[in-house]
């Protein structure tokens, strides 16, 4: 049953009060979570710095490593700070389509510029 509220209550339910729409929000546990995320970010940044200065790898390998670390970093920020880990299915669907189209844009464009008829100069 959907509800249409035409008159808002004087205040919305507080965290912890009966009637709160989501699970109660605990300040200290969030603070702890934030510290963990920050530590993770610092580690990721350090790893990327180290990877970029490694002497025995060529640029393609280094770029792949650095992007992988960046992607993990992004996942941590998106997952915990943006609550993406506990988001609703609809948002996941939207983002899945976005990722697919983004990959198409990147991949197909690069493929198009790399695939050219044999025996031609470019």
């Amino acid at each position: 049953m959907s509800e249409l509220k035409t008159a808002e209550p004087a205040h919305a339910p507080f965290a912890g009060e009966p009637g709160a729409h989501e699970h109660p929000v605990d300040f200290n546990s969030y603070l702890r979570r934030c510290v963990y995320v920050f530590v993770a970010v610092v580690c990721a940044v350090s790893l990327m710095l180290v990877a970029s200065y490694l002497p025995h790898f060529g640029w393609p390998a280094k770029v792949a490593m650095i992007l992988a670390i960046a992607a993990t970093n992004a996942f941590v920020v998106a997952g915990f700070l943006m609550h993406l880990i506990s988001e609703k299915k609809m948002i996941y669907t939207l983002l899945a389509f976005t990722v697919f189209f983004f990959t198409g844009l990147m991949g197909l464009t690069v493929w198009a510029m790399q695939d050219f008829p044999a025996g031609t100069t470019h």
Partner: protein, 616 residues
């Protein structure tokens, strides 16, 4: 607060929902100019878009004159052009640069300032919240902002005609390096206008999707939505995800133009015989990829709302449910999805290899399938119907074969091999105009005649509606059908002299010179275009006259099932006094055992009536 537009004499002010109790007048400015009401905004979009469409039409007439009579002064308009535009229109003759700017702006204005705002923003804003039982759009102030961004973008585009050097000349596609090499500011204005228009579309897209997801009335499940709402939903997604790459590309081209970067300018570029003083290292192909990444979904933005409108009108005027509702829904979702991965069929001649060309050719062929499914469902829906041939239905019916021609003629363009010959010829122009002009525009005309009574409480005149219809149908075909022949014979696009330089009269020994018969068609097309313009006069007069003098009708003159017809006329601010409860699908016409031949979506189930189609 109750809004009335236009002032509808004799109609009781609808009961205001929520019971706030105050009826203060918010003033003309807040009510009609800075409105956040989706209906006012829809009408604002509609009128602005129709004005731009008329302007774009005039640009086309000037171009067709030049094509048929290259170098001759334009009759009637020539002196005015010379006075207003100066040197490019000296002596009333359209110079090649002026022709190019007319061409570029005709395309830009028709696509971005006329069709998309009318089909998506105008009809969508007015009808969608009503159809889903919502009081307004999810973000009314964002809605107002999106209209204002649109107007600003349009103004920038219009102003560009009057700056030294004139408007953009590099086509609606603004390919680099030409777009950066033209030494005037017109391209800069074009880019800034585009950024504003893209912003407007993005804000609108967010609003539409959020509204359709969140504000459906109780009982309005996804599979009970009218097909028009599905079409707008998919269109909004196309705008949301396909426009940003063009915005990024526009920013980069702006940097190229204003700050002399080389995003799209290759090393070794020479302009006017001189090496350009640029850093080089850029890629013209990059612009094309980013442009067409939007450009292809854009054409589906142009057609899908029209398909939605035609579906509503066909269901209503056949007095039976649409055949294949589920197929329609899945097809429109498939079209939306596939449209993102077909774009390089606009780039077959850029030197792509066989593998990538085969990929895009395959996806292009595949996307024609859901389009055909949609058209087929609409055709089959006519079978066994009690067809009412009113003006909206005439336009909706004509849409079907016209879009059929447009779509089928696209197939040789989708195949790499045949496109090598047809690319950049008049065949392409004929193809896309068939889809958009007798295609989408007919659907939009149908929509205007259909929803006019809901907006004003009066019907448009039926006789003049038919005159408008037959005139438009005959002359649209006379304008565009010959262009297929011209294209196949090798006439290229964007030639300011109409191909005279390549005609058999000028170069009789050249292989493939354009024959006299093809060149003669130019005159016929010009006459047909002028007649097409004259055929629109009854429509314009009918539109304004009927607002105050048309036949007065009630809330549901077409006896339609969808929710917008169950609201008062015109709907007040907040649309419905109570949130409607939906009990059935959108096309319950001629249900056996019912007294009336239509059952509105929100009509309560009567005890004892036969079970309706299963609730989804």
């Amino acid at each position: 607060m109750v809004h009335e537009f236009p002032p509808y004499r004799g109609h009781e002010k609808a009961h205001e929902p929520g019971g706030h109790g105050h009826h203060e007048d918010i003033g003309f400015g807040r009510k009609y100019i800075f409105s956040t009401d989706h209906k006012i905004i829809g009408i604002q979009y509609g009128f602005t878009a129709l004005c731009f469409m008329l302007f774009g039409f005039f640009l086309m007439l000037l171009m067709r004159w030049q094509i048929a009579h290259p170098g001759s002064p334009v009759p009637v308009m020539g002196p005015l052009l010379a006075k207003v535009l100066g040197q490019p229109a000296a002596n009333g003759v359209i110079s090649p640069e002026l022709y190019n700017s007319f061409g570029a702006m005709h395309g830009t204005i028709m696509v971005f300032l006329a069709i998309v705002p009318l089909a998506f923003a105008a009809f969508g804003n007015y009808v969608v919240p009503l159809m889903i039982g919502a009081p307004d759009m999810a973000f009314p102030r964002v809605n107002m902002a999106s209209y204002q961004a649109y107007v600003l973008g349009g103004l920038v585009m219009l102003v560009s005609f009057f700056i030294p050097g004139g408007a953009a000349q590099a086509g609606w596609t603004s390919y680099s390096p030409l777009a950066t090499s033209i030494p005037t500011e017109g391209q800069l204005f074009w880019i800034i206008g585009m950024v504003l228009l893209i912003t407007s579309s993005l804000l609108g897209a967010v609003n539409f999707i959020a509204t359709i997801i969140q504000l459906r009335a109780p009982g309005m499940t996804w599979m009970r939505l009218p097909f028009f709402v599905w079409a707008q939903f998919v269109t909004a997604f196309l705008l949301l995800l396909a426009f940003p790459p063009l915005e990024a590309a526009a920013v980069m081209q702006l940097m190229d133009n204003a700050l002399h970067t080389s995003f799209f300018l290759p090393t070794g570029l020479a302009v006017g015989g001189q090496l350009a003083h640029i850093s080089g290292g850029g890629s013209p192909l990059l612009w094309q990829h980013l442009f067409w990444f939007l450009g292809h979904p854009e054409v589906y933005v142009l057609i899908l709302p029209g398909m939605g409108i035609v579906c509503e009108i066909i269901a209503n005027n056949t007095r039976k449910p649409i055949w294949g509702y589920k197929s329609l829904v899945y097809s429109v979702l498939a079209i939306g999805f596939l449209s993102f991965i077909v774009w390089a069929h606009h780039m077959y001649l850029t030197g792509m290899g066989t593998k990538i060309s085969a990929f895009f050719q395959a996806t292009t062929m595949i996307i024609s399938i859901p389009s055909v499914i949609i058209l087929t469902c609409l055709f089959i829906s006519l079978w066994g119907g009690s067809i009412r041939f009113n003006t909206p239905m005439l336009f909706a019916l004509a849409f079907l074969p016209m879009f059929g021609i447009g779509g089928l003629t696209g197939l040789p363009l989708g195949f790499n091999a045949s496109d090598v010959y047809l690319h950049d010829t008049y065949y392409v122009i004929a193809h896309f105009h068939y889809v958009v002009a007798p295609g989408t525009i007919f659907a939009l005309f149908a929509g205007i005649y259909y929803w006019f009574p809901k907006m004003t409480g009066r019907k448009m005149n039926e006789f003049w509606g038919r005159v408008h219809f037959w005139g438009s149908l005959v002359f649209m075909n006379l304008v565009f059908m010959p262009m297929f022949a011209q294209g196949i014979k090798g006439m290229l696009r964007r030639m300011a002299d109409g191909g005279a330089n390549y005609s058999a009269a000028r170069v009789p020994d050249a292989i493939g010179a354009l024959p006299g018969t093809i060149m003669e068609l130019h005159s016929w097309i010009l006459w047909a275009a002028m007649a097409l313009g004259i055929a629109q006069i009854p429509f314009i007069l009918n539109l304004f006259w009927s607002m105050n003098h048309g036949e007065k009708v009630g809330d549901n003159p077409w006896h339609a099932t969808t929710l917008e017809w169950q609201a008062p006329t015109p709907p007040p601010h907040g649309n419905f006094a109570e949130p409607p409860q939906i009990h059935r699908g959108p096309y319950e016409y001629s249900v056996p055992g019912h007294a009336a031949d239509f059952t509105p979506q929100n009509e309560p189930d009567q005890p004892g009536t036969p079970a309706l189609s299963p609730a989804h």
